[in-house]
């Protein structure tokens, strides 16, 4: 079976990655998988208020994920939704192991992710952009984080689903089979998983295969992230 946009199963969409896109932020980045575009700005480490949230042992990491109202076909009402609150939470959990939070007790690092165009896998784009933006902001990090979504389309495992593929339905043995979506985030150096979600049905064997596939794609993405950071314009000037 061929994919709708002619990609091979292990291929992700064209990636666009840039840093320093928000001038007021301490660090910022744009990361796009095809039409899924995320802009992330990082502020801090800075003083945390209210004081009862302060932790004398480590820094707090706060992520905000939100879709711009124009990013989806049907206008999205601005403000947090059940979905965006959940994604903010999983983003925090995906990024936390990569950051040296012990270095800044009682402070906070704010990560604001805004999706300006959405075509599935937006949380992966947001995590990739956040990792770039954090490095760009000079936050001490153990390693970079890269994320990609793996899906089960019919009987095949594919990397980086689009919206079209996500909504694709296969009629098999009279039963309607929906696409399974598995977003995965990997730490670039220790090769550990920091995010693994699963939406749909998949067998245990196939899940392990999907993770292997995701790992391969994530390593490619971390190379792209590395390249993006290194061609920072300050040095060229």
């Amino acid at each position: 079976m061929k994919r709708p946009d002619g990609r091979s199963n292990e291929e992700f969409r064209t990636v666009e990655a840039r840093v320093d896109v928000v001038s007021r932020a301490d660090g910022s980045a744009l990361f796009a998988f095809g039409n899924s575009k995320a802009i992330v700005s990082v502020y801090g480490p800075r003083q945390l208020y209210p004081q009862h949230l302060q932790n004398p042992e480590r820094c707090l990491l706060r992520c905000y994920y939100d879709l711009a109202s124009f990013s989806v076909p049907e206008r999205k009402r601005p403000g947090p939704t059940r979905r965006s609150i959940e994604i903010s939470y999983v983003m925090t959990k995906a990024l936390e192991p990569a950051i040296k939070l012990e270095a800044f007790p009682n402070s906070v690092i704010d990560v604001y992710a805004l999706i300006i165009d959405s075509d599935a896998s937006t949380r992966c784009a947001a995590i990739n952009a956040a990792s770039l933006a954090l490095a760009n902001a000079g936050v001490p990090m153990k390693e970079l984080v890269s994320a990609v979504s793996v899906g089960k389309l019919g009987n095949e495992l594919v990397v980086d689903l689009t919206k079209e593929e996500e909504d694709f339905k296969v009629i098999k043995e009279g039963e309607e089979q929906k696409t399974t979506d598995i977003p995965i985030a990997f730490l670039s150096r220790s090769k550990k998983i920091s995010l693994l979600q699963l939406d749909g049905k998949i067998s245990a064997e196939e899940l392990f295969k999907a993770i292997e596939l995701g790992k391969k794609a994530c390593l490619k993405i971390s190379k792209i992230q590395e390249r993006t950071l290194k061609k920072i314009k300050n040095i060229k000037k």
Partner: protein
């Protein structure tokens, strides 16, 4: 084309060196024999102690740093000063450099006043400031500009060469805070703006060889423009 030195830039998680004889310095960690970068920046290989000099980031205060900050709150025993660090700086009455006899502390330093102070000590919870040393005072008039704190060493130059050049050429007084706040005071606004331009030039192009000569050239060209 502007000449530039080949600089080794690293990203977090990248291996810098895997030989045994090197020691992990600031911005790096050791994993077995490998030295791994923990910040995004340029590698300093001048000694066996490998360091990563960050290219961006907020100001992290050290004891003895001279900083410029703004008073943002007053309590019964001192002033809270914003010094662009992860925490607020605190200046107690005992360290304020004045004899305090009045109860109302805003008689001495008001909210929004700009102070030139020194970091006395850094604790997990607070940064203590002092103004007891010579030259530390409230900054009354002049021009304040903000730059990235990682550019400060370049703006000062080797033994103050860069800042002294700008001072001499523009006939201004310049104080560079380690937190990236710079105070410029000149005889007239034109001089102050010229000094500001020169400093911005330095902070935008931190990796060019012979930057001091370039700045000198720039300042002379600008001044020649005035005479015409």
């Amino acid at each position: 084309m502007e000449e530039e030195k080949a600089r080794e830039i690293v990203v977090p998680g990248e291996t810098i060196e895997n030989r045994k004889e090197f020691i992990a310095g600031e911005g790096t960690r050791k994993e077995g024999n490998e030295i791994v970068a923990e910040r995004f920046g340029v590698v300093d290989r001048s000694t066996k102690l490998l360091k990563v000099i960050p290219l961006s980031g907020v100001y992290i205060p050290r004891k003895g740093n001279t900083v410029i900050g703004q008073v943002i709150d007053i309590t019964f025993n001192g002033w809270f000063v914003d010094i662009r660090a992860p925490h607020l700086g605190f200046l107690t009455i005992a360290e304020c450099g004045k004899r305090v006899i009045k109860e109302d502390l805003s008689e001495y330093y008001k909210v929004k006043d700009i102070l030139l102070a020194k970091v006395k000590s850094v604790k997990t919870r607070s940064i203590e400031l002092t103004m007891k040393e010579r030259g530390l005072k409230k900054l009354d008039e002049g021009l304040i500009i903000l730059v990235n704190p990682t550019r400060v060493p370049r703006i000062i130059g080797r033994a103050g060469s860069m800042v002294n050049l700008i001072k001499k050429e523009t006939n201004t007084t310049i104080v560079v805070g380690q937190n990236g706040v710079i105070w410029i005071k000149g005889k007239n606004v034109e001089n102050e703006l010229l000094a500001k331009k020169a400093i911005e030039l330095v902070s935008e192009k931190p990796f060019i060889e012979g930057l001091t000569e370039k700045v000198k050239e720039f300042l002379e060209n600008e001044k020649a423009g005035w005479k015409k």
